[in-house]
């Protein structure tokens, strides 16, 4: 092939690509030089190169080439060596979606649809939801309009791949001259090649999640420092001091108090039985002398750091403080061998209208938000004595609903003009906040049974609202993709947290009140600094919308549950997923940590409450990673309900677990 021909090809290619000026320049250049000594390579006798160049000038736009090339790449990947196969298959998904979007972008709607349908099966298992979204993209304008597609187009996907797999892939692409695939891969995939053996698990979460543009920013953001420690001078700390005093004096008095005596009798035996693993989890709840001993033994574990509050926190009245201290003193110690009691509130006759349920901190008040805009609050202490009772026995399970005849036995709060999506009690239980589709948040007093304030600020339905652990402040999140911080005395939000790429579905406060976490439909969880309003952590790993969040009482960990039933435990400081907890097979509506953080309870639409062992899950992840079945060990108990999806969970301060849900079919 002589240089003239090559020039022709090159010029033709440039013109086709629209670089007419470049082509012109090139032509001019050739006229000047007249093909004197352009080539340092000997392409005259290199048929490979000729073919390659020729392929460039081929019909680039031919839509069938996408299908051809992709199916070739696919069959090659499926036939590759087992050891490297999963890494190569990982590449297929981004290639697939970008092929599809290329086709759509060029206007070949029909071919795009055909292409999509013939290969979607491959990716459905992992990426079903993304595919469902993309399926609707049928015109170039949709690509522009749809956030998800746009972010995919703009960003590169990071794929970790071992050196050999990478070489294999490149070899294949060069050998077969599939420039189309090469182009897509170069354009949209960012390989992170590492030497050594390929990773064993084909289910590596990081590898399969495509998160749009913020992977890099996430890495950047997650470098920021956060102070996840508990507050200085918290009640627990005070309890430690006073508790220590109490038990000291008890020793002098010879065990006069019944409740404490029980506890202190039980604990030594516990410790004797369970050994050091239990001792560790007791490090920060030290209710009496024995626990202190345990703490000394486990001094290798760094104690929870203390931080200063960045918000001006409300002053707690001494009565409230006393009751809380009393509760903390009487807390039942939970662990993998000491399970909590679960009291279940079943809503009956809801006619499918219950949108949310909430339980006050002591379990005595239960609120339900309904789709007919109403909120109903039940005072369980009035209806029966079941509400207050960690101390009560089995015999009290008789039906407590027989209220005064002819009168309803709940408080009806009317004021919203749209379905109520969330309700939350202030820690002492004197206020209720509710959020609704009418874009407002309302504050109600449970003593006056009246609406006090209506907070307007969001532009779209407010999905969730949560009181801060100390009351006064609250956080809300909405379809308008923001989360906001409010205080009860102002009708304007104090902070607006913007950054999520889709609806913010749930919000949760950090125990030290300096941070809030938000879960979103963009499948990420973010942590925000309340003081600055900045995003300080992004947690990537969920495969569907995040529905529930919970923070561990020591502030170190966070759990998030999603639509598919996966629960993830995150380490706040590193923003890494410690362990995914698999077990539910439907939406996880609610999560709750036990008072001292040793157990995690989860409630789901599959009509079960599950208990998970947090201590083993957080401690031994490194060791257990090899063990595939270890997930099963961490799930301690499953309590099936009688066809009642679990909407809300709450550990009382004494570690009694309350759960609530609406029975899903009318009782026969």
């Amino acid at each position: 092939m002589d240089p003239e021909q090559i020039n022709e090809f090159v010029v033709g290619y440039l013109k086709k690509k629209g670089f007419s000026s470049a082509a012109k320049d090139l032509e001019d250049f050739h006229h000047h030089n007249n093909g004197s000594s352009l080539s340092s390579i000997d392409y005259h006798n290199d048929p490979e190169l000729t073919k390659l160049i020729r392929s460039f000038s081929q019909q680039e736009d031919d839509p069938t080439r996408y299908r051809e090339c992709y199916s070739k790449l696919r069959s090659w990947a499926y036939n590759s060596l087992d050891l490297y196969k999963h890494e190569l298959l990982r590449v297929m998904y981004p290639v697939f979606i970008h092929c599809y979007m290329d086709l759509v972008g060029k206007g070949h709607t029909q071919e795009a649809r055909g292409f999509f349908n013939s290969f979607r099966k491959d990716h459905e298992m992992v990426h079903l939801r993304d595919l469902q979204k993309l399926e609707g993209v049928l015109a170039p304008s949709h690509l522009e309009e749809m956030e998800f597609a746009r972010s995919l187009r703009k960003s590169k996907v990071n794929i970790k791949i071992c050196q050999y797999s990478y070489d294999l892939l490149l070899q294949y692409l060069h050998r077969t001259e599939s420039t189309l695939m090469l182009g897509i891969i170069n354009e949209h995939i960012n390989f992170q090649v590492y030497s050594g053996q390929p990773t064993s698990s084909s289910d590596d979460i990081e590898a399969v999640t495509i998160v749009g543009s913020f992977q890099d920013t996430a890495n950047h953001i997650n470098q920021k420092e956060i102070q996840w420690g508990l507050l200085e001078d918290s009640l627990e700390d005070r309890l430690e001091k006073t508790g220590g005093l109490l038990s000291d004096s008890e020793k002098g008095q010879g065990e006069s108090k019944d409740g404490d005596a029980d506890d202190s009798k039980k604990r030594p035996t516990d410790i004797g039985k369970q050994g050091s693993s239990i001792k560790k989890l007791k490090k920060d709840k030290a209710g009496n002398a024995t626990a202190k001993v345990a703490r000394l033994e486990t001094s290798t574990v760094p104690p929870t750091p203390r931080v200063k509050p960045e918000l001006a926190l409300p002053v707690m009245s001494t009565d409230v403080e006393q009751t809380i201290l009393e509760d903390l003193r009487n807390r039942v110690q939970l662990s993998s061998v000491a399970m909590p009691s679960v009291s279940f509130y079943t809503f009956v006759n809801t006619h499918n209208g219950l949108n949310c349920a909430s339980i006050s901190h002591d379990g005595s008040l239960v609120a339900g938000g309904f789709s007919d805009s109403s909120i109903k609050v039940w005072d369980m202490a009035k209806i029966g004595q079941t509400g207050s009772g960690a101390l009560q026995g089995e015999n009290d399970t008789n039906d407590p609903t027989i209220g005064p005849n002819g009168r309803r036995n709940y408080t009806l709060l009317l004021g919203h003009s749209g379905p109520v999506y969330s309700a939350t009690f202030s820690p002492p239980g004197d206020f209720v906040l509710s959020s609704s589709a009418d874009t407002t948040i309302r504050l109600w007093s449970t003593q006056l049974n009246a609406n006090l304030v209506c907070y307007k600020g969001h532009n779209y339905p407010v999905w969730d609202v949560q009181f801060s652990p100390f009351g006064h402040y609250f956080a809300s999140c909405s379809h308008d993709r923001t989360a906001r911080i409010w205080s009860m005395d102002r009708i304007q939000p104090l902070r607006i947290m913007a950054g999520h790429l889709s609806d913010v579905d749930c919000v949760q406060w950090h125990p030290n009140c300096n941070y809030i976490a938000t879960g979103s439909s963009d499948k990420t969880v973010r942590l925000w600094d309340v003081q600055t309003g900045e995003c300080v952590r992004i947690f990537i790993g969920h495969r569907s919308m995040v529905l529930s969040l919970a923070m561990s009482p020591d502030g170190r960990y966070m759990a998030s549950g999603d639509e598919d039933g996966t629960i993830m435990m995150w380490d706040l400081s590193t923003a890494r997923c410690i362990t995914p907890l698999m077990g539910h097979n439907s939406c996880v509506w609610s999560l709750a940590y036990s008072g001292e953080g040793s157990l995690l309870a989860s409630g789901s639409a599959d009509c079960t409450v599950k208990l998970w062992d947090v201590t083993s899950s957080t401690k031994s992840t490194k060791a257990e990673e090899k063990n595939v079945n270890s997930n099963r060990l961490r799930s301690l108990r499953t309590f099936p309900t009688k066809s009642t999806p679990v909407h809300a969970l709450r550990f009382s301060r004494r570690n009694l677990l309350f759960a609530a849900g609406a029975i899903s079919k009318p009782a026969s």
Partner: protein, 547 residues
């Protein structure tokens, strides 16, 4: 290309008054329509999730439209699912069945009952990690206490003292429940309260821990109270309720329960008064036995064989009382027609001979005994009659001819003409049934054709039924001829073509043919024994063919 075809867009355009929509425009709009619909659905799913539901309702879609500032679509109450009707004449066209409602009707209709108000019910889902077995909780996993180690203690003592290898704690509620049920069963009344209790026993979950106590209770009371008819009946009702309860696994206790049940079936004496309708009790128990066999026969393979052995022994022992025979017959009959055919029918003739003197009332001094004999006779007649009815049902002789039947008829014709070339037969076998179906389209035609098809082979059972003298000769002769034909044709088949398919076909045909013959003979035999009394059991269509 998009899910929404352009025709739909055109139809919608027409419906809102745009008549001059260009087809290109429709084509361009279609994908956009799809995209918008998907967008709305995505938002609707979000609304659904936040309403903590897993089924999408019309209100969710309304909410999604609201989010997009689109006016919601009115008129879709989220209640019952839509009824789609198929448009006649179109394959894939459906429409919603929208009835016109008369205002007057709506206004005059009585007000519906006010819906019940929302309530909260509280119960313990778990107590220190253990789920209590209360009706509010989902049924527990079966507590598999090793049943064989269970000591048979006197039930008189307090229940909680029974010591099991697995510590078995009965909650107070369960103890009360058990006592109440036991009391009701012992009260020997047939009160409404007892009926309620039975319903509760048959449907409540969480009763499983009581099962060993119930089995023990029933076993004890049956052995003690054989003279008390009402008690026995109550106990059998209790057994049935327990069996019906979907939350109870009764298998481990069946072996304890069965003796008492069988006792109620074949005991010599049930109840001590003449007025006690012990026949009814036996019938009830027979059905109970059949239920157990049907449900657990697959788990306990020996269950049915042991049971039938017991029953047939009771039946064939001439020393046993007639009441016992009756129970045995009812029990066997309830187990199914095959049991009757295999066990009762072969013994029918000698047994009836034995029964004959008892039947003749005038010879009997004892009126009661003759009554019993007639009861037994009736039971026998019913059992065998139902059996033959069932057998005859196998013939698809009903007016709508099934292809399989036609195949059968064809097969017989082949048998008559073994000399015919097999290859051609093979093909004709495939084709001819359809041809016949087409040519003969009335049921009469098929039936008559059927006669002609079968007649040459003398399988014509009705003939036998009509003229008794020929009975003895014909079946055997027909069998012989058929056997000969079979062997001939099979040989020919193997020799000539050796096609596997043809052979299996042949085997099937042989089987059907044999069955045919068997039931024919059975019918004849029964007719011999019973005379015309058997006739009501033969289905009318069969009658018309056979007689």
């Amino acid at each position: 290309m998009s899910i929404v075809p352009k025709e739909t867009v055109e139809v919608i355009a027409q419906s809102i008054g745009i008549t001059n929509l260009l087809p290109e425009a429709a084509l361009m709009l279609a994908p956009d329509v799809e995209y918008r619909v998907r967008e709305i659905m995505q938002e609707a799913i979000k609304c659904m999730r936040h309403s903590k539901r897993t089924t999408l309702t019309a209100s969710d879609v309304d909410g999604a439209l609201n989010l997009r500032n689109v006016e919601p679509i009115y008129g879709f109450a989220s209640g019952a699912p839509f009824r789609f009707r198929k448009a006649i004449g179109h394959r894939d066209l459906f429409y919603t069945d929208d009835r016109e409602v008369d205002f007057k009707e709506v206004i005059e209709a009585p007000l519906p009952k006010a819906p019940l108000d929302t309530e909260i019910v509280c119960h313990w889902l778990a107590i220190e990690g253990v789920q209590p077995a209360i009706p509010e909780n989902a049924p527990l996993e079966v507590i598999r206490a090793p049943a064989e180690n269970k000591p048979h203690e006197q039930k008189d003592g307090p229940l909680i003292d029974i010591r099991l290898p697995v510590k078995h704690v009965l909650s107070r509620e369960l103890q009360l429940y058990f006592q109440k049920i036991a009391e009701l069963a012992m009260s020997k009344s047939n009160s409404a309260l007892f009926k309620e209790a039975l319903v509760s026993l048959a449907s409540d979950s969480g009763l499983h821990p009581l099962v060993p106590y119930f089995t023990n209770f029933i076993a004890d009371e049956v052995s003690r109270g054989l003279n008390d008819f009402q008690l026995l009946f109550n106990l059998m009702h209790t057994v049935r309720s327990i069996l019906q309860n979907p939350h109870i696994h009764i298998e481990p206790y069946l072996h304890q329960l069965m003796p008492s049940v069988v006792t109620c079936l074949v005991s010599r004496k049930l109840g001590n008064r003449f007025a006690d309708n012990h026949w009814e009790l036996r019938d009830f128990t027979a059905n109970l036995v059949a239920l157990i066999c049907k449900r657990y026969g697959t788990v306990y393979i020996t269950l049915q064989s042991r049971l039938t052995k017991t029953l047939i022994n009771a039946l064939l022992d001439p020393k046993k009382a007639l009441t016992q025979h009756y129970g045995a017959i009812q029990g066997l009959a309830a187990l199914g027609h095959n049991v009757v055919r295999l066990l009762i029918v072969p013994n029918l003739e000698p047994y009836l001979r034995l029964l004959e003197p008892e039947l003749a009332a005038e010879k009997q001094k004892n009126q009661a005994k003759s009554y019993e004999a007639w009861r037994v006779y009736g039971a026998l007649l019913r059992a065998t009659g139902l059996c033959i009815h069932d057998r005859l049902k196998i013939f698809p002789l009903s007016p709508s001819p099934s292809p399989s039947f036609l195949h059968k008829g064809k097969g017989k014709i082949i048998n008559t003409e073994p000399q015919k070339r097999k290859l051609s037969v093979d093909s004709s076998e495939n084709r001819s049934p359809q041809k016949r179906l087409i040519t003969k389209d009335g049921p009469d035609g098929v039936q008559s054709q059927d006669h002609t098809g079968v007649a040459p082979m003398q399988v014509d059972n009705p003939v036998e039924n009509d003229n008794q003298p020929q009975n003895s000769a014909q079946p055997s002769s027909s069998e012989q001829t058929s056997d000969a034909n079979e062997s001939e044709s099979r040989n020919g088949m193997v020799k000539e073509s050796g096609r596997g398919r043809a052979i299996t076909m042949k085997a099937i045909l042989d089987q059907i043919w044999k069955d045919d013959l068997d039931s024919g003979r059975l019918l004849v035999k029964l007719h011999e024994l019973y005379g015309d009394k058997i006739l009501p059991f033969i289905p009318s269509t069969e009658m018309s063919v056979f007689l």
